[in-house]
Amino acid sequence: MSNNDFIRQLPKHQRDKTRSKLLQKTHIDFLLLMALLSIIGFGLFVLYSASGENVAIFKSQLKNLAVAFVALLIVAQIPSKLMYFLTPLGYTLATALLVAVFFIGISVNGSQRWLSLFGLGQFQPSELMKLVMPFAVAYFLSRKKGKPKFTHIVVTLAIVMLPTLCILKQPDLGTSILVACSGLFVLFFSGLSWRIIFSVIALLPAGAYLMFEFVLKSYQRDRVLTLLNPERDPLGTGWNIIQSKTAIGSGGISGKGWLEGTQSQLDFLPESSTDFIYAVIAEELGFIGIIVLFSLYFLLLLRCFIISANAPDKFTRLLASAITMTFFLYIFVNIGMVSGLLPVVGVPLPLVSYGGTSLVTLMIGFGVLMSISTHRKHRL
């Protein structure tokens, strides 16, 4: 009898386990992979049209995806224990790089966000921080038992705020908020008391108003005002939102048809391959297309939640759930912005927008999830 013959006669549950040995060996979570591939496939389909049938962009995105998948696979191999071990180093390094940006950072369009990679291009330390932050907070809080106490909260805030303020000063408001959130999610999942949560929520309107008046720069304030009334500057700051809503609304229930979206094809919709690609989906595939998009995202998130629920220890469960929620946050912010519910910030639509950096960052995050999902004490 060969090996396969032996496997064939095993009862089903045992058979499945051996069949998935390949997947286990490579630490690939099958369901997560399927969910990712479906969304990515849908995204490519849309990108082809959004880019105006630009084969160069399409091919470039495929390359980005290849790189991103490689990153995912590599990270998936790393056991969570190793990640845990490397976290303090990672956090220190990322923070150091952020500080370095202030001194030797490259400026583009008035913001100092990049470091030169000496020939290999440029690199944004804030992207690295996006990955590292949940690790750092999860590392700290998983060492403590039970719900976080006051001192823990203070330390957590310190861990979160230090890099956040660095990023804020670049200036990069959008990224700083996302980085902060990814850390704060961990705090939430570790059991931060509801009282504190509600008090903070109660203070948000006041805080937002104060921020609006005193903290936000004029162009940022403009963005908020334009959100509330895009018509006040239809050819300037309001243009994006007006065109985006027009694109979405004119799609109707069944859309104008793939490749037939007039707003995107005729260049009325800016950033149609990147930040505003949601509008292209809405215009060309209609409400039905939107439902498809949401369903795919939902399935993906569902799998992520399940992985988080089944995470073996505190560190991994905090990490997984924070990564999941952060992913959801990206989706919510991008779609909210494109639909005219939130002010315009430069957040791409995850896994669909054209762009390499965002893909790699996201896939590393999914790699972590896969690692958490597949590195388990084997039960056989």
């Binding site: 039970g146 939430f188 027009t246 707003q263 005729l266 260049d267 779609i335």
Partner: protein
């Protein structure tokens, strides 16, 4: 064990907490998605109409395709009004193009006046230009300017040269009082015209033929529906209504004759009107001095306009159409026919002219132009020698109540209906008129004045040519018109009316009397008869219209040159030819020209020479031009 169990318990508690938190997070995620989904539904279902319209508004642009204005030709197909391309310099409306910098760079190569720059900025501010649209900076570029700009275009980004058609009148001031001119549509025009039909066009007929036949000449604007992108570039055509270009108009006018008329009038103020007596077509319509219509097309400068406006010779006035003059002796053939019609006289009726006439029991002397009188005068002699006394005496006998209505039949006191805007109707006095307008009774003295075409009587040169043509046609009155044909279709000439005389012979005899004016050895215009060897005869009537009422006794003592020029009498001459086969009737008015037969007469003769001595025109079928088939 206990430790481990509490450890286990806290673990379970933590588990439970975490699971709850995770569940809560999952629910938040779901509700977040639902919020976004309902937002999408709101935009895509509830507000779909609005956004669909918006997206169409973005991409669909209706472009007006302006029609080409019809060309105006004279009777022989020579172009009197046409469209010439004109070039304008524009700056493209895009944020990346800084107008200030562009203007500075342009100044190095061409002249840009402050006014042009100010107008540019004003337009940029007030008009809503789409991205990619052209904002005009300088119009009517010369060839040199176009070359200079084109050579340097590679260095100056954001400029564009645009071309459009502009109306042009090749004969300058010769045709102004006939064709008129077009100029820019203004705000008051916008209230009356169909804006849709005029979109994409800037000009509208302001005076003359350009105004009279504006609808025909303008045509219909076409529309093209195109799809544009965000840069205002046309992607493809969606729909179109083809434009109707304006119709070409062919006028009766003969530009050679018109030119001659102006040459004849020379420095005199005055008018010459020539009518084709076979169909009422206006062959010449000159008012001197005239002005250049090309000045008005693109907007005339205030300075230039003031020059025209305050010129003492008043070039802006169309004397042929609106100049009011006493017809003076030229009216005598009409009055004569009136006397015959009512049998106040016959051709044998004779008076002895002492040089004046007196009303019963009235010492006032109504003098003839000839101090000592003409002696024995019958109607023929009265016409040929232009004897005033004959007409005084018999008109008083006839009475204004019969005279005035008779004169009206010849078009006096009403417009002829020529196809030009602004015609004046002149003045034919009557008892009722005087009562209504002067609140006075009619005096016999008024009849006397009226009988020799003075007093209250006023006529335009056109009216004078008109009644002359009626005389030449033995009562058939064609409505004077300028338009001969539209595109290739001949217009039918319809006789407006007939003047019926009880004795048709009188037309003939009166004609003979008018022939005697020129061809007898006693006619006032006999010098015309001597001068030239012609194959035809001219029938005419001279006239001298008083300008200022210089008391008759005083006047005798003054020579013409002693009276200030503008107070000298006007010289008039009405005539038609060839006698027996009438083709053309002419009225010549020379302001302050003094002698009707001396100054105006030779002009009329020259007109006939040009029109008739040309072989084409003597031939019965000569009214066919090379272009068309049979005349009506």
């Amino acid at each position: 064990m206990k430790q481990s169990s509490s450890h286990l318990n806290s673990n379970t508690n933590e588990d439970a907490t975490f699971k709850r938190r995770l569940f809560f997070a999952a629910v938040c995620t779901l509700s977040g998605m639902l919020i976004l989904l309902s937002r999408a539904a709101f935009l895509q279902i509830l507000e779909h109409e609005h956004y669909a319209t918006q997206s169409d508004n973005n991409r669909i642009q209706n472009q007006a395709v302006p029609p080409i204005r019809g060309i105006i030709y004279d009777r022989k197909g020579r172009t009197l009004a046409t469209n010439k391309p004109a070039f304008s310099l524009n700056i493209i409306n895009e944020r990346k193009y800084d107008a200030k910098i562009i203007i500075e760079m342009l100044k190095e190569h061409i002249d840009l006046s402050e006014k042009e720059i100010q107008t540019f900025y004003k337009q940029k501010r007030h008009n809503n230009y789409k991205p990619g649209a052209l904002i005009p900076l300088k119009t009517d570029l010369t060839q040199e300017e176009i070359s200079k700009i084109s050579i340097n275009k590679y260095r100056i980004e954001g400029i564009a040269i645009d071309s459009h058609l502009i109306r042009h009148y090749p004969y300058d001031e010769l045709t102004t009082h006939v064709i008129g001119y077009v100029n820019r549509i203004n705000t008051s025009d916008l209230e009356t015209i169909d804006k849709k039909n005029y979109s994409g066009t800037n000009f509208i007929g302001r005076t003359g033929i350009e105004k009279e036949y504006e609808e025909l000449l303008h045509g219909k604007t076409g529309f093209q529906q195109v799809e544009i992108d965000a840069r205002n570039r046309v992607k493809r055509s969606l729909d179109q209504h083809i434009r109707d270009n304006g119709a070409d108009l062919y006028l009766h006018l003969d530009i050679d004759l018109q030119k001659t008329a102006f040459e004849l009038l020379d420095n005199y103020r005055g008018a010459i009107v020539a009518i084709d007596t076979t169909n009422g077509g206006v062959l010449a319509f000159a008012s001197n001095p005239s002005y250049n219509p090309n000045d008005f097309v693109s907007g005339i400068s205030q300075k230039k306009y003031n020059n025209y406006l305050f010129d003492r010779d008043k070039p802006l006035i169309n004397r042929a159409l609106r100049g009011l003059y006493p017809p003076a002796s030229t009216i005598k053939p009409v009055v004569g026919l009136g006397l015959l019609e009512h049998q106040t006289v016959n051709w044998q009726t004779e008076i002895w002219d002492k040089g004046f006439f007196q009303l019963e029991n009235n010492p006032r002397l109504y003098r003839d132009w000839k101090r000592d009188g003409h002696g024995a005068v019958d109607l023929n002699y009265a016409i040929a020698k232009s004897c005033d006394t004959y007409f005084y005496e018999h008109s008083v006998k006839l009475g204004i109540d019969k005279l005035s209505p008779f004169m009206e039949k010849f078009g006096l006191g009403k417009t002829t209906g020529i196809d030009l805007p602004g015609e004046k109707s002149g003045l034919l006095p009557s008892r009722a008129w005087k009562k209504a307008h002067r609140n006075l009774a009619w005096y016999p003295g008024d009849t006397i004045n009226t009988s020799i075409g003075q007093g209250f009587t006023q006529a335009t040169p056109l009216q004078m040519a008109y009644f002359t043509s009626i005389l030449s046609n033995k009562g058939i009155a064609y409505k004077p018109s300028l338009l001969k044909a539209v595109n290739e279709q001949q217009l039918l000439k319809v006789p407006q009316s007939h003047v019926i005389l009880t004795d048709k012979e009188n037309w003939q005899t009166m004609e003979q009397a008018m022939v005697n004016v020129v061809h007898s050895d006693y006619g006032t215009a006999r010098r015309l008869g001597y001068k030239h060897e012609r194959s035809y005869q001219i029938a005419g009537k001279s006239g001298t219209a008083q300008v200022k009422g210089i008391p008759q006794d005083e006047k005798r003592q003054l020579k013409a040159y002693e009276i200030e020029e503008r107070f000298r009498d006007h010289a008039l001459f009405t005539a038609f030819a060839p006698v027996g086969n009438s083709k053309i009737a002419v009225a010549v008015i020379v302001e302050n020209g003094v002698s009707g037969s001396g100054t105006a007469g030779p002009m009329a003769q020259k007109i006939f020479e040009q029109y008739l001595d040309n072989k084409n025109n003597l031939n019965p079928s000569s009214n066919n031009t090379v272009l068309f088939g049979d005349n009506l």
